[in-house]
Symmetry: C2
Subunit: 300 residues, 2 copies
Amino acid sequence: MFDKVVIVGVGLIGGSFALGLKAARAAGHIVGLERSSAALARARELGIVDAVSTSAQAALRGADLVLVAAPVAQTGAILANLTPWLEPHTIVTDAGSTKADVVRAARAALGERVGQFVPGHPIAGRETNGPDAALPDLYRGKKAVLTPLPENPAQSVERVAAAWRACGAIIHRLDPAEHDRVFAAVSHLPHLLAYALVDDIARKPHADLLFQYAASGFRDFTRIAGSSPEMWRDISLANRAALLGELDAYLAQLHGLRARLAAADGTALESVYANAQHARRAWIEAIEAAEQPLPPISGK
Amino acid sequence: MFDKVVIVGVGLIGGSFALGLKAARAAGHIVGLERSSAALARARELGIVDAVSTSAQAALRGADLVLVAAPVAQTGAILANLTPWLEPHTIVTDAGSTKADVVRAARAALGERVGQFVPGHPIAGRETNGPDAALPDLYRGKKAVLTPLPENPAQSVERVAAAWRACGAIIHRLDPAEHDRVFAAVSHLPHLLAYALVDDIARKPHADLLFQYAASGFRDFTRIAGSSPEMWRDISLANRAALLGELDAYLAQLHGLRARLAAADGTALESVYANAQHARRAWIEAIEAAEQPLPPISGK
């Protein structure tokens, strides 16, 4: 499917993409490119990539597909570094959690060649990171959202979609701004809320006593507060406008609940709780219905 | 250890207590008492209790220990129903998630005999409920918090502690008001926040689109919003003052974070996120260190 693929950032996300392509026999030759020579060496050792490079010029020679899998704040600098060596047929995509800012960075870096950049975001992850965390089936049955640009040839978008499909992902398409509003609500805001709660508790004088009695509900609620602070700082800033909108809506909701609680209005509280429980159950049932068992990825 | 134990409410919490006592051979005869004859029949069928009753008078004859395992708002009515039939040696305890209101209800119901009531709260649960959800090892390695009253004879407190220890629980003691402040922070507030988020999203016009892209982080963050709305309405109202205090502290925290986000202050955001990640890691490590492997409960 692809003769030569370049992975910029051979950690969990980029490494799993490489392993998924390899398992599907969809890539002839995979090159890892990044600044960290330790990560590159480890990725080579684990068989995630066939070759490694710290030079964009060398890595991009004859490349069909490039995946940029790095913190979103670095996307602009990475693309600026790649652009001089892009061949006319090379397609570049990314795996960033925000899209409007990535598109702005791509336009600035690629200029008239921005049509070669197809923005994407695979909805998958793990709590661990680095090449050792990479899995060939990380994307299996998961969504990969593409947010194509008007400048993207349909054929290029289809090539990127085919690469994610080879990794087992299900392709979705959104407008970049729509993407950012959706993920502000269902991902970025929950991360901010979980970080805020743990920080709030940790700063109380009796924090030790409180943590002593925190149990499984607290553990699950705050699991995402174990995520990388740098990565989530970048995502918060990159998607600031949409995140502020969602945060304001949530603050209004909390102030409303506070008033009901202060008034001891049990009926109103129960109505909010019951609506949430009902909506969450319907969501879980829809997920379970959509998760069809898939044949194993290997042995194709 | 106990000749006769009465379980008021033979669901997950009461049923697991009965099964734990049986597994430890700590109870001679266990009677289930509640209004729902279907739950009673099922508890009898599953061998959770040896006998069932819908009459407090009959059930309490010769009882050494009574556990009230019902929604906290019902505690007062249940205790009022039990009081006329309490024998002088009978000890009553409960499993309610709030304690100050339960103590108030107990004082009102038992009057001068309030010394016979030892308030308690086992920190364990499951997402399912009813007799079928009960497990003999639900409390194994978990905390059971007792909040004794000045009127409780030390010997009665020790008897209740021994019953929970027989179920594998680790005994902790708190003042009722302290208990309620602690659980407002680490349990009741997170429940309110999770319900609020799911309700907020479910009421948006594009809720279907949002739920479509919600993934595992959202699932864990909102797991507790799958809990019983009635139960959490009661807990919210019963612990209203402490919950309002925690909610106000959290709202102040969120308004502070909002200002930092609006100012694009990445350093301040990262500092909050990093403090939360660090505190959560330390907490998880402390939990793991405290969780010693225990010998199996059966075959004692």
